[in-house]
Symmetry: C2
Subunit: 390 residues, 2 copies
């Protein structure tokens, strides 16, 4: 096929990426470039919001902090989840209301908490005593939610234990927050990145509901449940339509938590991944040995210039070339830097045209999330990933 | 100890880092900051050059492209190995002679080869037919050296098969280069990053010498041997003094290759790692569960803001705090971003003071190589790693 294949999402066919595709095909790029279509972000917000219903969307800014994306979401009425002072300043500078921004990083610099408090933010995440102490000192009276560790074995990219506290500490942290003069209002969790089907939330929601009930039984009045992210993007394996997915998640939430006053959802990848494609180029096709089974294909973009999520081959991007109607064969895919770790896919090979050669254009699909902001400042002297918003 | 412990290198004791240490202790940093001491770079150049003798040092710019470092090295008479057009432009802008810069990336954009040729560069690396074709087209008459894959099992961080060709292709590529009108002048290889003792070069040099002799027997006149990098830095395990190390490597080279007209060596890490320390801060110390054996310590710097080489816990940095005279205990070390992959050391724990807490300053030793340039442009809204040169 010479054209971008259309997405098959929940059985429906959508070719919402045709504008990006046309733009990339009509444009010459000197460097790898992420092309984002703001209309896809707007559509995805509407689709998710329709399914999420009464839940507030707090877009996870870290997924893609492009100003044009944030402006679209502010206009739509989205709320925001910020990881740092830098992200808070960015949202505020574009007109987001401070009360619509949560400071969701459980590891915050004390002076950044003070800044956020002064700026008018009222909701902070925590998973440890010392974090609560910093919040109490720098944002007295703030609302806090406690992040829980959950077992998230069904996600494509399960999270480590880096964030959250175990259940045995959860109630103690609520009590500690109260003693510090804070207002503990609920819990948060993360089901795991790229959780492809809504039914995969079940076990996690059961775990969180157990803690929620234990807290209620202990007399805590909880009114905030933050269901985090995990909303998937299409990387080759079928996913549900975002509205159906979100509605099914919310039905499971309601079945377990009833009519909680405030529900927050933090889609990041699920909001923007499908709104962007990277225009890249083949730099070299080679074989290491005369007997080599596989080709090596080197692109002008790699692990240190935007494709960091190929780490451990976790996220498997899809590649489109002008030769996709020709015979295909497996290859190892690598980036352009003089770094032996800059290999994208080697354990599970990528099928690419046998005729592929240096200078050929490659479109990498669904790259709108976790690419441009991961890009290095200039590793090997390569400039950071260019971003163009259409 | 309250002061930086002194390096024990090859049995000798050197406290060449006292100026950085004093600067960090006297300075307040708002963000993690890499402090580089240019006098250590100058000393290290002299020490390596003394051992390398007739070999030309081509500093691997990618290890740290700070202008002040390049200026010191230009003044010393160093040559440079560039990975990209960006690095070539940087070296030229600071006064390096084009004939002193090699374009050592085996994966080059065709237009960058043309730029380099126009700028006066004459030596290019290649490991595949298509790369030779690009060089022949864009830099006719250029000198090329062929990079070989070697087995480098003794390095702390062995390289993948990303770079180089197998031995069965080496002579064929020399012939192909000749047919294309290029001047094939020799071979290059890389013994593996952080090869701690010179004796570990033995097997690799034997392999390369086999290919070298085969090429000579086939009638090729070779006059360039590029022995690449691999020169180690001190990360806690004893290493030889750089002069002794380099001299021993050169003795092995001479024993195998005789009086080759031109020898290139490309230290990067070995030139600059020990010239820099990062001033960082503890953001949070916590336990995930009441029964947790280990603490989690979160710093304000992580995998995406400069410490990318903690990937797979490959490089083990050393940490110094003001509490190092207190009781110590093992902990998991993590970065500040909302990314579950941003964990620095978890499989092999790090010993840190039991009294460590949020706000404490942490000095990370020997961070002058492969840190600042790996830093992301702004993942999670955190600014790139600051760099200060003293």
């Amino acid at each position: 096929m010479n054209a971008i294949v259309t997405d098959i999402v929940g059985g429906a066919v959508a070719d919402h990426t045709r504008n990006i595709n046309a733009f990339i095909r009509a444009t010459h790029f000197d460097h790898p470039t992420l092309v984002l279509d703001r209309s896809i972000v707007a559509e995805q917000y509407d689709a998710l919001k329709l399914g999420l219903g009464r839940a507030n969307i707090h877009y996870a800014v870290k997924a893609n902090p492009a100003r044009e994306i944030l402006e679209v979401l502010i206009a739509k009425g989205s709320h925001f989840d910020a990881a740092s002072r830098g992200e808070i300043e960015l949202c505020l500078s574009l007109g987001a209301a401070p009360s619509d921004i949560s400071f969701g990083n459980t590891v915050k610099r004390a002076s950044d908490i003070a800044f956020a408090h002064q700026a008018g933010l009222t909701i902070f995440a925590a998973d440890a005593e010392e974090e609560l102490e910093k919040i109490a000192e720098n944002a007295p009276d703030a609302e806090v939610y406690i992040r829980l560790i959950v077992d998230a074995s069904e996600a494509d990219w399960p999270l480590t234990r880096k964030f959250g506290c175990a259940r045995d500490k959860a109630l103690g942290l609520l009590a500690y927050a109260t003693n510090l003069g804070l207002r503990p209002v609920g819990f948060s969790f993360h089901v795991g990145s790229q959780t492809r089907r809504a039914e995969m939330w079940r076990t996690t929601l059961d775990q969180v509901a157990d803690v929620w009930r234990a807290a209620q039984n202990a007399g805590y009045v909880l009114d905030l449940l933050n269901i985090g992210g995990g909303f998937p993007a299409f990387y080759g394996e079928a996913i549900q339509h975002p509205t159906a997915y979100a509605a099914e998640v919310m039905a499971q939430v309601t079945a377990r938590f009833g009519d909680v006053a405030r529900i927050m959802a933090e889609p990041g990848r699920g909001m923007v991944a499908e709104a962007g494609m990277i225009a890249a180029e083949v730099l070299l096709v080679s074989r290491k040995s005369d007997n080599d089974m596989h080709r090596w294909v080197y692109l002008d973009i790699g692990k240190f210039s935007g494709l960091a999520e190929t780490m451990d081959e976790a996220i498997r991007y899809q590649f489109v070339t002008d030769r996709d109607h020709e015979d295909m064969g497996p290859c190892i895919l690598a980036g352009p830097s003089c770094d032996s770790a800059d290999v994208l896919y080697e354990k599970k090979l990528i099928g690419l045209p046998l005729g592929l050669r240096s200078g050929d254009k490659v479109i990498i699909r669904n790259c709108g999330a976790y690419t441009s902001s991961y890009s290095s400042v200039g590793f090997n002297g390569f400039p950071p990933l260019d971003v163009v918003v259409i």
